[in-house]
């Protein structure tokens, strides 16, 4: 039978709402308002997991997001399962299931626990040192490591939940709703600042809401009573939005913060469906007020990690807030007064407190006196030197501390207990502060890092700013609010605070034991099992930088990022190396503050919304006609149109033959189109293309090659002169946006004197490309009035016309080498145009072809595709396109680079054709080309860039780039493949219709 440790009803726990849940397969009960951690503790369950390296039994240590041990898998085996969830943050609901992680086969019996006994062999850097060699053993190591370690299991099925992103703008963002955050938000909102208050828990008030120290009063009330009234008043304040269950994960520069709002994780499965589970808030705040509080520090002593050893403040919260006693025989171990508050909290509820071990010599505060009056034994100047109990703490041994705190003396006293609260003082939660780029300063007296230099408009208030006592908090908060909000009065002006808190604290980073350090296990990082001796070993081995020590020992590298132990690690390093902590600096706190789900990060951008895609106006026709599609940039382009179960190869061969024998049609709408206007448009084209443009007559088209300033081919396309000062430029499909950007750049920054205006019109027009010997007859049927004679409408010219009432622009240009027309209409008429062409072409067996056939046809003609046959290292000369480079023009983009010694080398890679000895052998694109097979290593001359079986030539053809290839015509080379060497001959890259006779056929 499990014990019930629910000791007193709490207003935050609804005892009328009993909830059953399962942990490690066993059913337990809790109440609405419990976290998984508080409900387990109420059932006397402390053992919840195993540590990462030694598999030591570990229990719940904290009551918040800093929890290092109680990391569970929620709803294992379901599609909503989530690993690495802190039991202290899971709100229980009916049907919740959770299980321990990092234990195999079970948390009670864990094979990896043997590592604990082998631990002398697992020093810092063990994994780095051991699993390095022999390399062939890695597979065995991996099996072992994966089985016995690992942090939870990822879900294996699709996430059923919806996630969302939202952008939020506010004047003031307040992070954390403890007493400081609430008062800051209230006063900001009252002064007409649009204020957002976010709190990671589901209740407001922080730790003050259950503050029980009877010697502290605000306006003559208990601080908790006073704060409840303030919280009640928030409801009536305008300009204030409050988001609970919302955790700020990242604080970037310029006050840009990311927060995760949890909307359904606390609901039963049936209430989760069709709701947004988590929402990522992208917050841009004019001012940020950090009120993130402080985290209690543990103390570092031998065997300080047993289940039942917890933070003193957590014991207090479980008792006061959840009404749960964490043990029946409690002991506290402290270096300051806060453990006494926890002890009194238990005492007032009738829970047994055996003793308080205090490393200080004394303290005279009222709360300490109260503990004495209660008859609780206090051991001053004592330290814990060891603990016992494997799966649950059952005793501690204490000894007297020497005056310098470096050793222990006298006889050992053993105290039997089942719960130990440790109180090592408080660390301001400055994680978000440092993420923003702001700088910390170490306070040598308080032994804490404090905000020092802000990089944006922000303040840190309350304990995250270094104020721990209520009177200091209120006073400093008031002044900071007035300064940052530029206001004269606040609600805080008239508040009266009485307190009895003593600041006295004795800080010893690593507490001594009667045993030598090597025989003890003082854990610094609980999740990653890094002990104080690992840190000292790292220092002995020569590590000096804190960042290196961190990585070598893995201190602070768990999912909790060492929220509890980082300060101790720094302190131990400083003490050992004999430097000041302030000089040591601190490790970087990286986002996220607590882990985020992938769902939250990607939001709605999943499945078909993962990336946007663009469809042409003819897309529906392609879909109806069973086209296969390929992605080109963001475009969905028809790739080929298989009929009667054709393979891709069969379809492409058929399409290619049809286009040359009679007629083919291609959807060319995706080509980039830039409208260029202005009195300097011709001059502009002269500067951006390699060839000359001034003399291009109106109504004529010209192919242009665009270089980068380094002389390498960047883009190509046909530009048509529509009028005196009006051109339309086409670009490659993938290059459209970049070309426009580049042209704008030159216009705005280098040539602002030019009168030129650029407009992207890619989406404005739909383009059907009609090609083949019968294309003219088909066009004639569609536009009977247009004179298509070679005299009136020659190759490389343009006509404006009408198809019925539809205005169209027709260019007689060709990318296939066939007689062809590109017909452009307003995008909304695209499908109509396409269907008209298909109808008119029916008697000529017009064949729609996709991008694959287009690529094949142009390869037969030796036309390059920028990005396939070029890769940013090819000049026009390398492409054997010298003809397009004007010798007369004084300048154009990239011209000077064509005369650099490197670009003029004769042995650069140059574009050539390749023919295989066996005409049926089709080369692989990307295959390497060599001239000598017997060399070692074989010198690589180049590679195949395009390769097809040409149905029109009935043989394999390829384009390739080959070093010095220009002078290799007819030379035999080899393409070595995995199982064979293919013999090839260098050829002219124009394989088909070398005299261009078909253009006018």
């Amino acid at each position: 039978m499990t014990k019930n440790l629910r000791v007193k009803s709490s207003e935050y726990i609804d005892e009328t709402n009993r909830i059953s849940f399962k942990f490690n397969g066993k059913t337990y009960h809790g109440f609405k308002g419990d976290t998984l951690a508080s409900a387990l503790l109420a059932n006397d369950v402390h053992l919840v997991g195993r540590s990462f390296k030694y598999h030591r039994p570990r229990g719940i240590m904290t009551s918040g997001s800093e929890e290092p041990n109680a990391i569970v898998q929620v709803n294992p085996g379901t599609n909503r399962t989530e690993p690495n969830v802190r039991a202290t943050e899971v709100e229980i609901y009916e049907g919740l299931e959770a299980s321990s992680q990092n234990c195999w086969p079970s948390v009670e019996f864990d094979i990896g626990g043997i590592n604990n006994f082998l631990s002398p062999f697992f020093p810092a850097g063990f994994y780095y040192k051991t699993f390095m060699w022999p390399a062939s053993f890695w597979e065995k190591y991996e099996f072992f490591i994966r089985h016995s370690a690992g942090l939870g299991k990822s879900p294996t099925t699709t996430d059923p939940d919806i996630y969302d992103h939202r952008t939020v703008h506010c004047d003031v963002l307040v992070v954390g709703a403890g007493i400081s955050g609430i008062m800051a938000a209230k006063n900001a909102a009252k002064n007409n600042f649009k204020t957002l208050l976010v709190e990671e828990k589901n209740e407001l008030g922080g730790s003050t809401i259950y503050e029980n120290n009877e010697f502290n009063k605000i306006d003559n009330k208990a601080p908790s009573e006073w704060l409840k009234k303030e919280i009640e008043e928030l409801k009536n304040i305008k300009n204030l939005e409050i988001k609970t269950r919302t955790s700020v994960a990242a604080y970037h520069q310029y006050n840009y913060l990311l927060a995760r709002e949890n909307l359904t994780d606390h609901l039963e499965a049936k209430d989760k469906t069709n709701k947004i589970r988590q929402r990522l808030l992208k917050i841009r705040a004019k001012k940020v007020i950090l009120a993130t509080g402080a985290l209690e520090r543990p103390l570092i002593f031998n065997n300080n990690d047993r289940p039942g050893i917890m933070l003193s403040s957590a014991i207090k919260k479980y008792s006061e807030f959840y009404g749960v006693a964490c043990g029946s025989k409690n002991v506290f171990f402290t270096n300051n007064d806060s453990a006494y508050e926890s002890a009194i909290s238990l005492y007032n509820k009738g829970i047994n407190v055996e003793a308080i071990i205090d490393i200080r010599e004394q303290s005279e505060s009222k709360i300490v006196k109260k503990v004495k009056e209660a008859g609780i034994k206090i051991y001053w100047s004592h330290s814990i030197v060891d603990t016992t109990g494997y799966k649950r703490l059952n005793s501690i041994s204490i000894m007297k501390l020497s005056n310098d705190g470096a050793s222990v003396t006298g006889s050992k006293i053993s105290i039997s207990c089942d719960c130990l609260g440790v109180a090592g003082g408080w660390t301001p939660a400055v994680h978000l502060y440092t993420q923003s780029g702001s700088k910390l300063k170490f306070d040598e007296e308080k032994k804490i890092f404090l905000p020092n230099q802000n990089t944006s408009e922000q303040i840190s208030v309350g304990s995250c700013g270094g104020d721990f006592k209520i009177d200091e908090i209120i006073k400093n908060l008031n002044q900071k609010l007035k300064d940052t909000l530029n206001i004269n009065e606040t609600d805080l002006d008239s508040i009266k605070v009485e307190i009895d808190q003593e600041n006295s604290k004795r800080n010893i980073w690593l507490l001594p034991s009667d045993k030598p350090l090597g025989k003890t296990k003082p854990f610094v990082d609980y999740q990653n099992d890094a002990t104080a001796k690992d840190i000292k070993l790292a220092l002995r081995e020569g590590f000096r930088s804190i960042e290196h020590v961190k990585r070598y020992t893995t201190t602070g590298m768990g999912t909790d990022q060492g929220k509890l132990g980082n300060m101790h690690a720094l302190g131990i390093i400083a003490d050992t190396a004999g430097v000041k902590m302030g000089e040591l600096g601190t490790t970087t706190f990286r986002p996220p503050y607590t882990p985020l789900t992938f769902g939250t990060i990607v939001g709605r951008n999943v499945g078909k919304f993962f990336d946007i895609f663009r469809k042409t106006p003819m897309n529906d026709w392609h879909v109806e006609n069973k086209a296969e599609f390929e992605n080109v940039g963001q475009w969905k382009r028809a790739w080929y149109y298989p009929i009667n179960g054709e393979t891709m190869h069969q379809a492409v061969q058929r399409e290619s033959k049809a286009a040359r024998e009679s007629a083919g049609i291609l959807d060319a709408s995706t080509l980039g189109k830039i409208d260029i206007q202005g009195s300097d448009a011709s001059e502009f084209l002269n500067r951006v293309y390699t060839n000359a443009w001034s003399k291009l007559a109106i109504g004529k088209c010209r192919y242009g090659l665009m270089l980068n300033e380094d002389g390498m081919v960047y883009d190509d396309g046909v530009t048509t002169r529509l009028g005196e000062n009006h051109y339309i430029m086409t670009t490659t499909t993938g290059g459209a946006a970049n070309v426009l950007g580049k042209l704008e750049d030159y216009l705005q920054t280098e040539w602002p004197e030019l009168d030129v205006y650029l407009t992207s019109v890619t989406d404005h027009y739909a383009t059907a490309s009609l090609c083949g010997p019968n294309s003219k007859k088909i066009l004639k049927k569609i536009i009977p009035d247009l004179d298509l004679s070679d005299e009136n409408f020659p190759h490389m010219s343009f006509k404006e016309s009408k198809i019925g009432n539809i205005q169209c622009r027709i260019m007689r240009i060709s990318f296939t080498g066939e007689h062809s027309y590109e017909i452009n209409v307003q995008a909304s008429y695209g499908k109509d145009l396409w269907e008209k062409c298909m109808e008119a072409g029916q008697e000529f067996n017009i064949t729609p072809y996709g991008t694959e056939t287009m690529h094949l046809l142009r390869a037969e003609k030796g036309f390059i595709i920028v990005g396939q046959d070029t890769d940013g290292t090819m000049t026009p000369i390398d492409l054997q396109m010298d003809w397009i480079v004007s010798k007369k023009k004084y300048d154009f983009i990239g011209k000077r680079s064509l005369y650099r010694s490197d670009t003029m080398r004769e042995d650069r890679k140059q574009l050539v054709g390749l023919l295989t000895e066996d005409p049926n052998e089709v080369l692989e694109e990307g295959a390497q080309i060599v001239s000598e097979l017997n060399q070692s290593p074989i010198e690589m001359l180049g590679h195949v860039t395009s390769s097809y079986f040409s149905p029109n030539l009935n043989k394999s053809i390829a384009l390739a780039v080959v070093r010095g290839g220009k002078d290799m015509m007819g030379k035999k080379l080899f393409v070595p493949m995995e199982n064979k060497n293919i013999n090839v001959t260098v050829a002219n890259p124009v394989f088909y219709d070398k005299k261009n006779e078909r253009l006018n056929a």
């Binding site: 970037h252 520069q253 310029y254 006050n255 840009y256 841009r284 780029g437 990089t455 300033e709 380094d710 950007g741 704008e744 750049d745 705005q748 920054t749 280098e750 602002p752 004084y890 300048d891 011209k895 000077r896 680079s897 005369y899 650099r900 010694s901």
Partner: protein, 91 residues
């Protein structure tokens, strides 16, 4: 994520912008007069300093205008923003 004050549109999120490298490098007016070394200096050599740097930025997903920015690369503080063709503010 910077908040960038486009001189034409006002404050916008960084994701609307594209960085365009070092500013105030003018394209030579007479490239053919330059030696290979001089041309290479213009073509390839860019500063990448820790500290105050003059940069080109483009409001790519906004007004498409290019402008200049003075940024301290050590803490990403934007010290000044000014239009193309305007003189950089004195340091």
């Amino acid at each position: 994520m910077f908040l960038i004050n486009c001189p034409y549109c006002g404050e916008r999120d960084q994701q609307e912008f594209k960085a365009g490298g070092e500013a105030h490098i003018e394209r030579p007016k007479q490239p053919t007069e330059l030696s290979d070394d001089e041309w290479a200096e213009y073509l390839f050599m860019r500063k990448n300093i820790k500290g105050v740097q003059f940069e080109r930025w483009n409001h790519a997903h906004g007004c498409r205008k290019w402008f200049n920015m003075v940024r301290d690369t050590s803490n990403d503080e934007i010290k000044a923003i000014y239009k193309m063709g305007e003189k950089p503010p004195s340091q």
